[in-house]
Amino acid sequence: MPLEPSVAERAFSLADLAFYGLAALTLACGLYAALSRNIVRAVFALLGTFLGMAGLYAALSADFVAVVQLLVYVGGILVLMLFAVMLTSRIELASRSNRYPSFPSTALGITLGAGVGIMLVALALEAPWARSANPLAYEPTTADIGRILLGQALLPFELLAVVLLAVVIGAVVIARREEGGR
């Protein structure tokens, strides 16, 4: 049966193709967000990074995490960042709203970032990572995650609720206009 393996190979390489596309989207948009001189464009480029990350999560059989990524990052954090940009930057200056500092500090920062990046990539390629014999299958994870969150991970789950309450109150207190003054 010579047909069988070739079909399987094609199916696998389609998944591989999806990975390469999503990784390219994530990294290209991340680079643009990091380098753009226009802060509005940088925040919008972040949209591509977050979408690509959600796709990569889905490709890693983490469907619930992918949806949470979409809801929280794209629906929450990105909108919040856009609000902050629109409220703080004078829009007519947007094209040069995100300038670089003087030469030595830029070069130093980029050198440090590139050095750490090279080190991490070398580590990812060289280290003998522990690998499971049976990786997670493509199955729905939501029910299992819910069971763990209300079971063995109940304490951190509840603590997170308290943290979120504190953050909501704290953010309102910090951001509100003081009475009387400006």
Partner: protein
């Protein structure tokens, strides 16, 4: 053709982390620094989910990433509130000008 495995995801996450680190170190706009931090957090989350699939074969890494996403949202909310408050007081969003506490 080599099938996509753990190493591929780790390399993507490493590059994304480096981009975020460079962004957080170099940029002066407060929101651009936050963008860098978010990129680094996303890279860490990708690592955790990749290890969850290929390393342990359990859901532990995905749980870590869920907590990480929630904490990143909380952090972003506080940082953006701070940016708004600082901007209202000083009219700048540029980190280099915020040196009042410096000696």
């Amino acid at each position: 053709m080599i099938h996509v495995g753990l190493t591929h995801y780790l390399v993507v996450a490493a590059v994304l982390f480096a981009v975020g680190l460079g962004c957080a170190l170099v940029r002066r706009h407060a929101i651009a620094v936050l963008i860098g931090v978010e990129l680094m957090l996303n890279a860490a989350g990708l690592n955790l989910v990749a290890f969850s699939r290929f390393g342990t074969g359990t859901l532990d890494g995905q749980l870590f990433t869920l907590f990480l996403i929630v904490l990143a949202a909380a952090e972003a909310a506080v940082v953006l509130a701070l940016v708004l408050a600082v901007h209202r007081r000083t009219r700048v969003a540029d980190m280099d000008h915020l040196d009042t506490l410096g000696g």
